[in-house]
Subunit: 156 residues, 2 copies
């Protein structure tokens, strides 16, 4: 059975998933790139460094954001949304974004990462981090699922 | 440690994964959509029905294809490629595509799906199936990984 996810189901999947994909487009080239993210109900927040996706989104901030969760071929959910890329310079909005990213990411770090004490910026208790912080406000969101059970498959 | 995947590693991940994401773009709109696929070393093959992604790819066949596999935030692989969408009308190329899809998908079907005998087209022994079969030949492929162990994390 195929279905459309309602708003609550879409919000739940956006809060549960850890990795999404940004689709951007400049000069005839479409680029789909995975990102780890945090979602606070208003914005998708990401931390990254200079590179192809940032260069492209600076040129064309209209992006697509996708997440999916599949248990098998016939039990899956996906959310697709559209919004605008916004790079956050130092200031209250960047500080808020870092707080959301830190709260989401720190508990999910692997024991290896923690043990190795890698230079992952969110380990630090500093207010700011190195690198680029950006956000995407999803102005439109759609969600679909397929299920073989009475209840839709929901990711946990 | 971050790294670039070599050709063998890229091919391995393309054969291992079951779900990828197509990025397409028409008239200022970028769309990223998850698809189940099969890969034979030459083409990405997909089965679908009429809808937004097919309409967009018919208008602009230049697409991006992405797969990723993450064990955690610091151990992941991803492959991103670019190619052209080709819809396969009845004929030897469509028959070959269906054979590749059937070989890949049938062993991966859930026991629920099998038990329910759902109308999934690849269950049938027929040579053709309902719906649209298309392929993407990836003309360019890149792969990246991050690992916290001596060896890159490779999906199994």
């Amino acid at each position: 059975m195929f279905g459309k996810m309602n708003t609550a189901e879409i919000e739940q999947l956006l809060r549960q998933q850890l990795v999404g994909r940004i689709g951007c487009h400049v000069d005839g080239l479409t680029y789909v790139v995975p990102v780890s993210y945090a979602y606070d109900g208003d914005y998708i927040y990401c931390h990254t460094h200079e590179g192809m996706k940032i260069n492209m989104m600076r040129k064309n901030p209209d992006v697509c954001f996708e997440i999916d969760s599949a248990w098998n071929y016939s039990n899956w959910q996906s959310v697709i949304g559209w919004g605008s890329f916004e790079e956050l310079a130092e200031g209250p909005e960047r500080t808020q974004a870092i707080a959301v990213l830190r709260e989401r990411k720190l508990p999910m770090l692997s024991s290896e990462t923690m043990h190795l004490g890698l230079l992952w910026p969110f380990h630090s208790g500093e207010r700011d981090v190195d690198g680029i912080i950006f956000r995407i406000q999803l102005k439109e969101k759609t969600g679909r699922y397929e299920t073989t059970t009475a209840e839709p498959f929901f990711a946990t």
